[in-house]
């Protein structure tokens, strides 16, 4: 970050500097207190970090959807969290059916693949419908208009799902093959978490391949660079935008199942918090930047899982885990205020 003395002390920069100092002091004091008290064993820390990476990879997958859409349309698809939720909620019924019929444990790989496919397809369809109905007519509107639409769409989708599937939360059936731990270089990792991390990595590699190596991916990059010129080059901009939403939806659908593997429970409201956190992750990494979304997701996941214990545990704050959402939102606020271009974002935004 460039350092420049303010030319004139004013209210706003005073408040900003105050904020910086307060945050720095809190972080340092909190970590010091926790680390010196030695409350948590190294094993417990390792557990927290691995869990953080697992949930971080879920965030990263959702964040990719935000970033992709932002890349081509420069809008925050606020309803993306709900796209993620629809997939997980719909695939639950397939999973429950498989669980009851025993197919899930007899043939876990095939069953999981089918569940993934159902979730991804559902999310993709919702994302496409969203673009077609809610966003396409508003491409030329002032920039707050699509954002308000997106907020409305988010409420509409989540409450529709609440009406259609009911409002109680559902528990995904457990898979025998994924119980227990895996020994990785001497570090025991829960098998589900290992699966989540591996699947996320595979999907991200697939995405990078798609964007960097395929024809459609190239067209997508061209559209994100300049829509008009891309159109002149014979690229069907509308189709590329739909494709972008579709790819974002596919990743969100996969993230939905991974989320269900980590947390087991799904409900109609599960899209809201992960959605905002994934957006945070996307901004943290630099919105519009694919590698940034992945990095941001992992960073946020770890911060959120380690943060409450590290910062608050030593200060004898009761139930620090309640405040994990505060950590995520504080990161969001701080990043947006102090480094809106994110970790990997160009300091001078290209657009």
């Amino acid at each position: 970050m460039r350092f420049r003395l303010p030319q004139r002390i004013n209210l706003v920069s005073t408040i900003l500097w105050g904020l910086r100092i307060v945050v720095a002091v809190l972080v340092l004091a909190g970590s010091w207190a926790t680390l010196s008290s030695g409350k948590l064993s190294p094993d417990a820390w390792r557990e927290l970090v691995v869990f953080g990476i697992a949930q971080g990879s879920v965030y990263a997958l959702i964040a990719l959807g935000y970033t992709l859409v932002y890349g081509v349309l420069f809008m925050i698809n606020f309803a993306h969290g709900d796209v993620f939720m629809t997939g997980a909620m719909t695939a639950f019924f397939v999973a429950r059916n498989f669980g009851e019929s025993g197919f899930l444990n007899a043939n876990p790989i095939v069953a999981l693949l089918i569940i993934f496919a159902v979730s991804m397809l559902t999310s993709m369809l919702v994302a496409i419908a969203l673009e077609r109905i809610a966003y396409r007519p508003l491409r030329r509107a002032p920039r707050l208009v699509p954002l308000i639409t997106a907020i409305g769409a988010s409420l509409f989708i989540s409450n529709s799902i609440r009406g259609i599937y009911g409002e109680q939360s559902q528990t995904y059936p457990s898979i025998d093959a994924l119980q227990g731990r895996l020994d990785l270089f001497g570090i025991p990792i829960l098998k589900t978490q290992a699966l989540v991390i591996v699947s996320a990595v595979v999907l991200m590699i697939a995405l990078v391949y798609f964007v960097e190596r395929t024809r459609t991916g190239r067209a997508m990059r061209a559209v994100s660079e300049d829509k008009d010129v891309a159109a002149l080059m014979g690229i069907n901009v509308d189709r590329i935008i739909v494709t972008t939403f579709a790819v974002g939806g596919l990743l969100a659908g996969a993230a939905g199942i991974l989320y269900a593997l980590v947390f087991n429970e799904v409900d109609w409201f599960m899209g809201f918090l992960p959605g905002i956190k994934a957006f945070t992750a996307a901004v943290l990494g630099g919105i519009g930047n694919i590698a940034g979304a992945m990095l941001g997701g992992l960073t946020l996941g770890v911060l959120e899982s380690v943060g409450p214990f590290l910062l608050l545990g030593g200060a004898n704050v009761p139930s620090p885990n309640q405040l994990r959402d505060v950590i995520a939102f504080t990161v969001l606020v701080l990043v947006l205020i102090f480094r809106p271009n994110g970790i990997l974002g160009r300091s001078e935004p290209g657009r």
């Binding site: 350092f3 408040i15 904020l19």
Partner: protein
């Protein structure tokens, strides 16, 4: 007439039919039909659920008859248009029919929880499968054709029919409001004539149909007459007319709770609280153009500060009188507005929205957390907030007797504050400050270049919005007598936003109308509670797509929102989207 229907028309008819079919299935699956299938509109004749179902093919038929906008449209004969409507209705009905047949044969409740046997019986009219399918399809086609007929019929008839139907539905909807009051005032004869088991009687339905139709027919000439008279009147008497109109309105607002009884007063109190919130948010969103999604934070701060200062049970335990505490609360909220506003000012619109949303959530989590429980009471909240208003008023003024309890009393301070906020906001919008906000909203860099200090004006908007919001919060705390963190979730922010969007950003009459429609109406439909947020979401999307300037638009805002329509180049839009530089 070249052919019955062109390929293009066929495709559009099929599309509209499919959309209508999806809409019908959606209404059934999401549970709206189930919720409203027993709510009578005309008892024994039709229920609200049926009205909703019929509305879909009706509107679809109307839309189908409207098509297409190209040159061939003028050559379409009326009977062709009705045919389009019929086909659309048939498609929609057939799809629903197939669904009903399948759902009756296979139990789908494991997944679609709302498809219950009573719902299916309602949909199939209790007929066996094959007949039910035919009946649903036929009814769909009939309604679709009716919708198309409405389009091809003369405007006057169309208006009369629409208004008659709206009159009947409206009168049946206000039953929970009107009937108890009529009975309380000993007009049982009227109430028995109009209502029967929560719906209208047939006789009353016919009466209201006629009244609605006549009103629609007379509306145009009456409106013209009034307008002509007013226009013809000299300026002086015109001003007098306006003053009289405002006077009548004020009196109507003042005696409303007396006439209407406690139930409506309670609804009005809720409407008033949201109206106050919306007037405050309107300053931030409507005037300054800053989309604040964490507005609930100010509402919460107002409520909690009031609770802390006035409740003897709070951690401060000082128990100040309400009106002593109020200035401190407002000051505190204004400070909070500055503190939240300052860091986010330099963010561009969409980031600002998300950051404020984050602030709102942080506030809620903090209020709820065990960590701050000793001060803010955690999940249990703070109890025992004394009300500065008497629980009941019993005045005997010789000729008239005034008696009011609970919400009927609270109604007055809330509306006084609303009126104050409205007048304040109105004066602001026409002041130097309002013009500065206008300029800033339309183009920040130009405003800055012409000497508007955008930072200061944004902060001012935040602080004023916060103060208004906290007023509402303070009254809310007093009304409930306690505060709980659960009352301050993100949906409050969204509701207030929906109120503003529906009414029109930056328009005070719009905000008032929005609060009445979005907060007041759902209270009348108790079955509706669960679907409130769903409808708010739908309202946000629909308004942005169809009428972004709101129902009663602010003139400046309308112009801004339709600017892009006339612009041909995408370039300007891209320029608009350009991120501003980050800070420091």
């Amino acid at each position: 007439m070249a052919e019955l229907i062109s390929r293009r028309q066929l495709r559009r008819v099929a599309t509209i039919g499919a959309v209508a079919a999806v809409a019908l299935l959606y209404l059934c699956m999401v549970g709206l039909i189930e919720a409203f299938k027993d709510r009578n509109v005309v008892t024994g004749v039709i229920t609200l659920g049926a009205v909703m179902l019929l509305a879909v093919p009706l509107i679809a038929g109307y839309r189908a008859a409207l098509l297409p906008r190209d040159a061939s449209a003028s050559r379409l004969a009326a009977w062709q248009r009705v045919l389009f409507g019929l086909v659309v209705g048939l498609i929609a009905g057939a799809v629903l029919g197939v669904f009903v047949v399948i759902a009756s044969a296979v139990d789908v409740r494991g997944v679609l929880v709302r498809i219950s046997p009573p719902l299916l019986e309602f949909l199939s009219f209790g007929l066996p499968s094959a007949l039910a399918f035919l009946a649903i399809t036929g009814l769909g086609g009939l309604t679709g054709a009716l919708g198309a007929l409405l389009l091809v019929s003369p405007v006057r008839i169309r208006n009369a029919v629409t208004s008659a139907v709206i009159a009947v539905v409206f009168m049946s909807m206000i039953e929970p409001l009107l009937r108890p009051r009529l009975e309380q005032l000993d007009y049982t004869a009227i109430s028995d004539f109009v209502y029967k088991s929560h719906g209208l009687t047939e006789a009353a339905a016919i009466l209201f149909l006629v009244v609605g139709a006549v009103a629609a027919i007379l509306w145009q000439p009456a409106n013209d007459l009034v307008r002509r008279t007013v226009d013809a009147a000299p300026v002086e008497s015109r001003r007098r007319i306006r003053r009289w109109a405002i006077g009548v309105l004020v009196v109507a607002v003042l005696i409303l709770p007396q006439v209407s009884g406690t139930f409506l007063a309670q609804v009005a109190v809720l409407v008033g609280l949201y109206m106050l919130l919306a007037l405050g948010l309107n300053i931030v969103v409507g005037y300054a153009g800053l989309l604040d999604l964490g507005y609930v934070a100010f509402f919460a701060v107002g409520a909690y500060l009031t609770a802390l200062l006035t409740s003897p049970n709070s951690s401060l335990g000082i128990g100040l009188p309400f009106f002593v505490a109020l200035p401190i609360v407002m000051l505190g909220a204004g400070m909070t507005g500055l503190l939240i506003g300052a860091p986010v000012l330099r963010l561009r619109g969409d980031y600002l929205a998300i950051v404020t949303l984050g602030f709102g959530e942080i506030a809620r989590v903090l209020f709820e957390s065990d960590a701050l429980q000793p001060w803010l009471g955690g999940v249990q909240g703070i109890l025992g907030i004394p009300s500065p208003f008497p629980p009941r008023i019993d005045l005997d003024l010789g000729t008239m007797h005034i008696f009011a309890t609970g919400p009927q009393v609270l109604y007055y301070p809330i509306f006084a504050f609303c009126a104050l906020a409205a007048v304040f906001a109105y004066r602001l919008s026409n002041s130097r400050i309002g013009r500065a906000w206008n300029a800033m909203r339309e183009d920040e860099s130009v405003a800055e270049a012409t000497g508007v200090s955008t930072v200061n004006y944004k902060l001012l908007a935040f602080a004023l919005g916060a103060t208004t919001g906290c007023l509402s919060g303070a009254l809310f705390a007093v009304q409930l007598g306690s505060v709980f963190p659960g009352s301050f979730d993100v949906f409050v922010s969204i509701t207030v936003l929906a109120v503003i969007i529906l009414g029109g950003m930056g328009s005070i009459p719009g905000v008032i109308l929005g609060a009445i429609v979005l907060i007041g109406l759902p209270e009348l439909l108790r079955e509706f509670v669960e679907y409130r947020v769903l409808v708010y979401g739908g309202v946000l999307v629909a308004m942005m797509l169809l009428r972004p300037e709101g129902l009663i638009p602010n003139r400046n805002r309308q112009r801004e929102l339709h600017e892009a329509d006339s612009e041909e180049e995408q370039e300007t839009l891209d320029g608009d989207l350009m991120p501003q530089r980050g800070t420091s």
